[in-house]
């Protein structure tokens, strides 16, 4: 039984996955994306696919990067094995629009997507005014993390607007992703950023307010694997974008004292969400809890398993991934 990780040697993802696999008495072959070829994988292997590592922080390259990755995922067609996550499902959840549409069809509570297309800052303002929208998240349709994400508010009566984003204007008026959140109120800069994002394919979502804890808004990253919640980290922020690498902070889940009923609702929500993606056994599901305690899915991350709070403690997520894959492999062998 060969265990294969397609990823990048020397990253935390590969190091800690290897550690988990070895502690269970197995070894893992790491194939770097740059060297990857379908012929490198034996039929019937246990296969985990990590996302490629990108050094490029330029947001305008996101589309190209994503297209390359989708092409690479397609090359796994015809490689049979026991996948942690089927490449076709990784590709499916990489597309935020398709993902949300699927969840909506299955009546999964989600942060609402705005279906209307807009192509400019001005059109966005008109949309907000017409529909009386409190705020909008604009995200690249493909991609993960907070690259190219901005939260936007517009007040038609006062002609005031504000965005919260980690984007910044770089050389040659190109936008790039920084690791720091900022608030921008200058209309010219806001217009430039929004027009830049709207040139590409985006998903627009209504800004739904999150519950708060000690002055921080928070949401949950739930790592759900093989039918159970394996880890929850609450991500607190003074801004609307809670990704932990943006100077936000992890809140100990126990501190939130989530009522049992809410935890059960979250479990059910995750179970129903994963049921929409056959072949996806591990996902980082971002869940918003409203101030009144209603959970809804923000997005599904097919490779959302890199959680430092677990890595440097029990390394439970990767351990359970390997256990899950071995069990699945056993079931496949019996058939």
């Amino acid at each position: 039984m060969e265990v294969v990780l397609i990823g990048q040697e020397g990253t935390k993802r590969s190091d800690f996955f290897k550690k988990a696999v070895m502690e269970l008495g197995h070894s893992v072959k790491v194939i770097n994306w740059v060297n990857y070829h379908p012929n490198h994988i034996k039929e019937g292997s246990l296969i985990k696919i990590d996302p490629p590592v990108y050094t490029e922080a330029n947001i305008e390259n996101l589309k190209e990067i994503t297209e390359d990755y989708l092409k690479a995922l397609k090359t796994f067609e015809g490689i049979s094995g026991c996948y942690l996550n089927e490449p076709s499902q990784i590709a499916k959840v990489l597309d935020k629009v398709t993902c949300k549409q699927l969840l909506k069809q299955h009546q999964i509570p989600i942060t609402p997507m705005i279906e209307e297309k807009v192509k400019s800052h001005e059109e966005l303002q008109q949309l907000i005014q017409k529909n009386k929208i409190n705020g909008i998240f604009i995200k690249p349709r493909y991609g993960s993390g907070a690259a190219g994400v901005l939260a936007y508010r517009y007040h038609p009566k006062f002609q005031k607007e504000v965005i919260y984003t980690s984007m910044a204007l770089g050389e040659e008026s190109k936008f790039y992703n920084t690791k720091k959140m900022r608030r921008v109120t200058d209309s010219k800069e806001i217009g430039k950023m929004i027009n830049c994002l709207l040139k590409g394919e985006v998903i627009l979502e209504r800004w739904v307010q999150k519950a708060s804890y000690k002055g921080l808004s928070y949401d949950l990253r739930v790592v759900y694997q093989y039918g159970q919640i394996d880890f929850i980290v609450a991500r607190g922020s003074k801004t609307p974008i809670t990704n932990l690498h943006l100077n936000n902070c992890a809140i100990n889940k126990a501190s939130l004292k989530l009522p049992d009923e809410l935890v059960q609702s979250i479990e059910k929500l995750c179970h129903n969400t994963m049921a929409c993606f056959e072949g996806l056994n591990s996902a980082g599901i971002d869940i918003l809890i409203t101030p009144k305690g209603k959970p809804m899915v923000i997005e599904v991350n097919g490779q959302g398993d890199l959680i430092y709070q677990d890595l440097f403690n029990e390394n439970r997520i990767y351990t359970l991934q390997m256990i899950g894959m071995v069990e699945e492999y056993g079931k496949l062998k019996k058939r």
Partner: protein, 282 residues
Amino acid sequence: MNSKKYVYDYDDYEDGSKDSATLAVEILEDPERMTLEEIVVGCWGESYDNSVQAILDMFVEHKEKFSHIKSLFIGDMDYEECEVSWIEQGDYTKLWDALPNLEHMTIKGSQNLTLGNVCHKNLKSLEIICGGLPKTVLEEIAVSNLPNLEKLNLYIGIEDYGFDGDVEDIKKIVANPSFKKLKYLGLGDSEIQDDIVGAVIESSLVEQLDVLDFSNGTLSDKGGSVLLENKDRISHLKMLDLHYHFLSDKMMNELEKLGITIDLSEQEENDKEYGNYPMLTE
């Protein structure tokens, strides 16, 4: 204190049918109302698009049902629900007479805020949290009659978000003769924080205070120096709150030697590109 918060979240007002008028009715018809000592009013729907006036008017119209209330917080919402500077506040003129047992009033947001003639014999604390407090409101506070007021905490803010006064307005507030029982004075979150320190430190009001709060503003070494130069005037303080500031390390060290309890947390870096801003603006 038995307290209850009334609030709408996204699900409540998504279809546009809920606003401050409907929340006013819900508060009025709540069977728990008589057991409460404190009422907290949170997001009332699209709080940037409809004012809180319906709720304030409801308290006045049915004052006999709320005369037992000791504490009110109007506008308890964070930026997730509504940018603070976008909260549509209201006219509080008639509220003071309507709620004779009120001891604590907290208001968040200053858009279209009017306090009116503020005369209240039982009010112990008044706090206004906003990104810019208009001159008209500062004047109303300057001429208010609040003989039992123990705490006054005002977020002064910046010009871009409604502060159109100046340091003279601050001087008038600290000269209010009715503030005989004031123990906590907070005049913070200001872009003219250094000037405010200068105006306040000279006033006789400082002598009776336990707590002086200049937090959340753009306090720099200029304001810090004024505090050092007047150390005898503040040596009696139980607390000098300067958290969120732009003081240098050297100035912080000097202030720590004052021998009074001082909060110097949240030292901010000078922003050479965009300039220094108070903690709460938008």
